[in-house]
């Protein structure tokens, strides 16, 4: 099969800091200067109180809230990688703050809800972006 690159992020002004941080090796999300809530996806202002936000590095730890095993060829760039696991990870930094992520190096039968995961940064093929994937914690 022809090597098709995976989808690339169409970065906007609000998300610029997220991708810039990853490129610098940091996993960061927006945090409110006033109410101190993290938020994702990003916005110009705090969703909750309208104050200014700034990107702040996260701990990189989390827990599997749910997960799927992708078996049907669906997303360009991943057609030869089936099956693979995508987990919805709840981050340690704030209850309910979640991000869907590939679970790198995990066999589907190794994965269960509640497992601890740890961030790993990898280059995204087909461009010059870095993405945060997660791995099962030791």
């Amino acid at each position: 099969m022809e090597a098709v690159p995976p989808p690339q992020p169409l970065i906007d002004i609000d998300s610029h800091g997220f991708w810039n941080a990853l490129a610098d090796g940091r996993f960061a999300m927006q945090r409110c200067s006033t109410c101190r809530l993290f938020q994702h996806p990003p916005a110009e202002r705090c969703n909750a109180c309208g104050s200014t936000v700034a990107y702040e590095e996260l701990s990189g730890g989390g827990e599997i809230f749910s997960f799927i095993v992708v078996r049907h060829p669906t997303v360009p760039g991943y057609l030869d990688d089936l099956p693979y696991v995508v987990a919805l990870v709840e981050l340690d930094d704030q209850p309910g703050l979640r991000i869907p992520t590939r679970l790198a190096g995990a066999e589907p039968t190794d994965v269960s809800i509640g497992q601890r995961v740890q961030i790993a940064l990898v280059d995204l093929a087909g461009g010059n972006h870095t993405v945060a994937v997660f791995e099962l914690a030791e």
């Binding site: 995976p6 989808p7 969703n47 799927i68 992708v70 078996r71 360009p76 590939r102 809800i113």
Partner: protein, 388 residues
Amino acid sequence: MNATTMDDIAVVGIGRTEFTRGSGRTTLGMAAEACRSAIADAGLTPADIDGIANFQAGDSHPGLAVARAIGVDQLSLCLDISGGGNQACAVVANAAAAVRTGQANTVVVYRSMNGRSGKRFGVATDNGSSPLAVGGEGQFNAPQGYMTPPQWMAMWTKRHQHVYGSTCEDLGQIAITQRRHAHDNPHAIKRELVDMDGYLNTRWVHEPLRLLDCTMEVDGAAAIVITSLDRARDLPQPPVVIHAGSESHGQGGSWDQWEDPTVMYSHYAAPLLWQRAGFGPTDIDFACIYDCFTYTVMAVMEDFGFCDKGEVGDFFSEGRATHGGDVVINPHGGLLSEGYIHGMNHHYEAVHQLRHHAGNRQVEGAETALVTAGAGPYGGALVYTVDA
């Protein structure tokens, strides 16, 4: 007239095209056929239509174009709603509100889509860029190989299975029952009966969802005509009353940040609807539950109070969701088996049944129907009744 009901508005006409896997037609052509058919069914002509409403996701012709194609030159209401199946009740409720407030007298509401041969909702969108470039919330997820509704729904399903112990067999009961209903529906695209082995032997799409957990994408259109109940009573078809409705759209539409994926929008919309309607789930004769996936039926039925958490599988396997049971769920086979006209065909079926025109799949003595629209963080619902 109660302030929170819409009892003075009725559906007077229904129309639809054939549902196929490849129409070879434009969405304009199919919309026009469905609208003309609905108008004729109502005993009206295009000259009687002064409003048009539809919803779409950039995949269909707009209302003004369809109005021209059915010979309506002037509209006092032209409502194009942006969205998917989550808007399938909102479009009807807003058309009804327009009639009630005098913005229009008679409105045709349609959805037309080449959902199989054109833009497919279960497929990674090709926006023409190479490599695919994805913006909005998708920019964080698509690069991870996670970007389509079947994936999001599988993620929610897995959480429900973890928390409540629901199983794939429970989902299978929904698919099997609805297919049995579709077996008696000549308009349905999938009519062959399926049993549990057959369900379990279909391939995984994204675990824990199999092929038969997913809607059957089709090309086609469906339309209904709405007017005041006063006018409706002078028309040939028995009026079907739009009794009450409610909507809930939350969490910015995020499938990832939604607090608890074991419930859906209906967790918020259901209590509002029952309060407005003045009755509850045991008063409903049949329900057209929006069923983009089997899990949507499961969570929405729990939210509307048809059964307790984790009991939907038993509810179906014990025959409570079919003829002779508590409530007939998707008597036409639903989007899973009749076809995915984004929920507009649910309105067609509800009206068809409440007129008692459904032949060998008629829900006996049907007087009240629930129609739901949408899944996950967004959607709505309507209750239809016969004219008292």
